[in-house]
Each structure stands twice: as structure tokens, then as C-alpha cells.
């Protein structure tokens, strides 16, 4: 618990009244967590509570000292029409920090170094999402939080982001990935937080323990298992032996 980035005990989350309560889990340094659940399950509410944007309604939540966050929001939450250049977007994500490496380093990491001067609004959806990731990387984060990063982006960008997250995690960056697309969850995601406020379901822990939890099958009438797709291990719903991709 002492080495935890986030440690929650009996946490209650929600707006005004609890959406989910009694949540207990611990996220350690350098771990890769997938935060899953259907739309409206409370994933974003949980993350906002973890990040201190929203107040917990109950329980305790401890955050590690000196935590440096990198945050990639859903693209729909940014005002893309603002006439900012790619460089400006990245710089605006680190106004509170000094002595950072040049912006180009983070942009090179996502393959967009040549677009530094381009208007953000002129980029494709996939390029915009890469810029948002570069903005988070520019902060040199110890934990990277991504909220549905593959929504509305092309397949190549999805793949590139997945590889990049894997690399970053290999370099010791903790990754918290929020998604409802189970068919994009590879073996790199070692820990799961599964939540569904409508089913009052909350599961947290190592990948296999969550996948094997009987409450998951009880809630949805189907189980989850890892399947190989084109050399990658991804998750799929299983119902009577038939694998069916979620969402």
C-alpha cells in the first residue's frame, strides 16, 4: 500500500448521490490498468475522483506524493476550433512545469514532429489524438491516464497508440486506460478495474482474477476470455463457446 500511486478504501463516487460505493483497490507504480465498463458505468466519474477533480462522497483515497500526471481526455471535450498550433497545444499542457525538454521530443514520440507549426484544427482525428498524447508525454508523467483514447480514430492510430502505451509502460510509466472496447485490450494490461453502476458491480485486481470472477458472468450472462487475433491477445465475450467482441 505504501508504494501505491492511488489507494482507495471504501470509496464512494458520484454526483450528489453515490453512483458506486465501497470501492477498495490499490494502483501501484509502473502498473498497467484497464478501467472497463459499459457506457455510463461510472468510469469517468471514478477517474475524475482519483485525479482530484471531483470530491469523493465517502471512504478514503490516498494519492502518492509528487505524482506527475499525464492526462489524455476524450477528444470531444476539447475545443478544436480554437486557432492553436500543434506546438501551442502541447505547451499549454505543461504551464505548471519548468525545465521540460523541447516540445519536438514528445511530438517525435507520436510521429508528428513535422507538424509542429500546423494548426491543430487542420489535423485528422487520429493526428489530433496523437497530439493529445504528446501533450501528456511532454510533462514526463509518472502516471498516464487515457480516457477512451481510440474513440473516433483510425485503425493505424489505434495500433500505434497501443504500441506506444506498451513501450511507455515498459519504461516504468503507470498507465490507466479507460475504455469500453474490450477487443483492444491486449496482454499488456495486467490489472483490471471493472465497474458498472447499473449492476452495482465493482471488481478490481489482477487480470485473471477479474476475468474469472463469477460476478461478471452473473451480471452479463456471459464470460470474458482472452483470444488471439492476428498475433495479438485481446478480450472477447464468450457465451456457450462462441466468442463475441464487446462493443
Amino acid at each position: 500500500m505504501d508504494d501505491a500511486l492511488f489507494a482507495a478504501e471504501g470509496l464512494a463516487i458520484g454526483y450528489g448521490k453515490p453512483l458506486l460505493s465501497g470501492l477498495t483497490f490499490s494502483i501501484g507504480r509502473g502498473e498497467y490498468w484497464g478501467i472497463f465498463g459499459p457506457n455510463g458505468a461510472g468510469k469517468t466519474t471514478l477517474i475524475k475522483t482519483l485525479l482530484g477533480v471531483q470530491r469523493a462522497l465517502g471512504g478514503t483515497l490516498k494519492r502518492a506524493e509528487g505524482l506527475r500526471l499525464g492526462y489524455v481526455p476524450q477528444l470531444t471535450s476539447v475545443r478544436e476550433s480554437l486557432p492553436l498550433s500543434v506546438r501551442q497545444v502541447v505547451e499549454l499542457g505543461a504551464l505548471d512545469l519548468k525545465g521540460l525538454p523541447p516540445v519536438g521530443e514528445a511530438l517525435a514520440r507520436v510521429g508528428l514532429k513535422d507538424l509542429t507549426r500546423e494548426p491543430f484544427s487542420s489535423l485528422s482525428g487520429g493526428q489530433r489524438q496523437r497530439v493529445m498524447v504528446a501533450r501528456a508525454l511532454h510533462r514526463r508523467p509518472s502516471v498516464l491516464v487515457l480516457d477512451e483514447p481510440t474513440n473516433g480514430v483510425d485503425l493505424l492510430t489505434r495500433h500505434a497508440l497501443r504500441i506506444l502505451m506498451r513501450e511507455l509502460n515498459g519504461e516504468g510509466v503507470a498507465v490507466l486506460l479507460i475504455t469500453h472496447l474490450l477487443n483492444e485490450i491486449g496482454s499488456e494490461v495486467g490489472h483490471f478495474l471493472w465497474l458498472d453502476s447499473r449492476e452495482s458491480l465493482f471488481l478490481a485486481g489482477e487480470r485473471e482474477s477479474v476475468l474469472g470472477d463469477f460476478r461478471l458472468r452473473k451480471a452479463y450472462g456471459a464470460g470474458l476470455r482472452a483470444v488471439d487475433v492476428a498475433g495479438e491477445t485481446v478480450l472477447a465475450w464468450t457465451n456457450g463457446g462462441e466468442a463475441e467482441h464487446a462493443s
Binding site: 500526471l69 471535450s77 476539447v78 492553436l84 504551464l95
Partner: protein, 267 residues
């Protein structure tokens, strides 16, 4: 001849140009954030404050500032998360109507001779005195300092308020500073340029600039230039053709819009 004419209206013109620059700056943010209606309601609050001041015999700018401050505080307390009993645009609409109604009633019962609704709605630019300009210049100076310190933070919040919160920017305080600055400017300027011209300065230069420029610096510069040049052109036109100055400036500010739309479409 032109210089002689401009010399005659130097204080009104200076007042209009001074007001146009910060209003164009605020306008760029408001337009991008789709919050234009907030500015109309604040202008209406300043108008209501000025009317109350005439009725009660108070200082118009300070009363305007107090009413604008009250409206900002009410909106800040309500928040912008869309969880109130009424949608935000409905709340702003109600404020606009109620404050406008109050302004008209206070003015109609006011003992001020010659002052009517039209004066506050369209302003009385030609009556602007050196003292008025000095007060406006002082407020603009303070806003310039605020802009120099907080401009990047305003941009960060405008672009991505959610991440700004996550990264520890004090979004609530920044919003308060932004709207308090705008409110103070409107409270001071409303007696000189009126509600209609205030609104025109907020919307028209920013709307034209976003089609003409591709960078933030370009958009802010273009908006400021359109505001200043539109003020000069409108004032000159009002003297040449003997038409109301405020209305002439409003129309002059709208002139670059078609060009902006053409440029925008070509891109």
C-alpha cells in the same frame, strides 16, 4: 478636412477605440467558447445598474459594477456543469429579460432629464469626455496587465477545461478573473458606448478575425485591428452622413465579415 473632423471627435473616437480593443480580446474567447449570450447578459446587467444609479442618484459605473458582479457571482455559484434545474441558455435568457425590464422601469421613473432607454442602448459616444476616457484607459490598463499574466492560462482553459482541472489549474478562479474583467469593462463602458455597440465589439471583430487568420496571435491582432478601424470608420461615417455614431460603428464593424467568410471558405 478629415483631420479637422477627427480632431473634433477625438475623445469619442479615443473612447470607442479604447473600449474596442479589450472587448475584441474577450470576444475571441467568448465566440470560441460559444458563450456570447453570457456577454449580452452581463451588458444588460451593466445597463440595469446604470439605470438604477440614475433612479437612486448613485454613481453609475460603480452601481453597474455591483450589478454585474452580482450576476457573475450568481452564475459562478450555479456552475457550468449543466446540472441545474434549467439549462444555462434559459438562465441567461431569463436574466436578459428581467434585467432589461428593470432597466426600462428605472429609467422611466428616473428624474434625469433627457436620459432615455435609447441613450443607454445605443450609448452617447459624442458626449464622451476626457475624464470618461481616462477612467476607461485605467480599466484597459488593468485588463492589459491581467491579460499579460493570464493569457496562456485563459487559452488552456478555453481549449480544454477538463485537462486544465486535472493538471491543477484553478479553472474556477481563472473564469472568475476573466468574467470580472469583462464585467468591469462593460460597467465602465456601457454609459459611453451603450449595450448594442458593446455587444458589437464583442462579436463582430472576433467573428471576422477567425476567418481571416489561422493563428491565435493572428486572430487576436485581426480582431483588435477590426475593432479599432471599425470605430474610426464608423465615427467618420456618422459625421459625414449625419447618422447615429454607435449604429454607424456597428455597421462598420460588420463590413469585414463577408470578406472573412470568403477567405474561410477558400481555405
Amino acid at each position: 478636412m478629415l483631420l479637422d473632423t477627427l480632431a473634433l471627435v477625438k475623445w469619442p473616437l479615443l473612447g470607442a477605440v479604447l473600449a474596442s480593443l479589450p472587448l475584441a480580446y474577450f470576444g475571441v474567447f467568448l465566440l470560441e467558447r460559444r458563450m456570447v449570450f453570457v456577454s449580452v447578459s452581463l451588458a444588460q446587467a451593466a445597463l440595469c445598474g446604470a439605470s438604477m444609479a440614475f433612479f437612486f442618484g448613485w454613481e453609475p459605473r460603480l452601481t453597474g459594477l455591483a450589478v454585474v458582479g452580482a450576476v457573475i457571482a450568481a452564475l459562478a455559484l450555479r456552475g457550468r456543469d449543466g446540472r441545474g434545474a434549467l439549462p444555462e441558455d434559459a438562465v441567461l435568457g431569463i436574466l436578459y429579460v428581467v434585467l432589461g425590464g428593470l432597466a426600462v422601469i428605472f429609467l422611466s421613473k428616473s428624474a434625469q432629464g433627457g436620459l432615455d432607454e435609447a441613450t443607454l442602448l445605443f450609448g452617447s459616444l459624442l458626449g464622451v469626455s476626457p475624464k470618461d476616457v481616462a477612467v476607461l484607459a485605467a480599466v484597459c490598463g488593468l485588463l492589459l496587465i491581467m491579460g499579460l499574466i493570464l493569457h496562456k492560462r485563459f487559452l488552456a482553459v478555453a481549449f480544454d477545461p477538463e485537462t486544465s482541472r486535472v493538471l491543477g489549474l484553478r479553472v474556477g478562479l481563472l473564469e472568475l478573473a476573466f468574467f470580472s474583467g469583462l464585467g468591469a469593462l462593460l460597467a465602465v463602458a456601457i454609459g459611453q458606448i451603450g449595450v448594442l455597440l458593446s455587444f458589437a465589439y464583442l462579436v463582430l471583430p472576433a467573428a471576422a478575425a477567425r476567418g481571416l487568420a489561422r493563428t491565435t496571435r493572428g486572430v487576436f491582432t485581426a480582431a483588435a485591428c477590426i475593432g479599432a478601424l471599425g470605430s474610426a470608420a464608423g465615427t467618420l461615417a456618422s459625421i459625414t452622413w449625419d447618422v447615429p455614431t454607435g449604429a454607424a460603428i456597428c455597421l462598420a464593424l460588420a463590413v469585414p465579415l463577408p470578406l472573412s467568410l470568403v477567405v474561410h471558405r477558400r481555405e
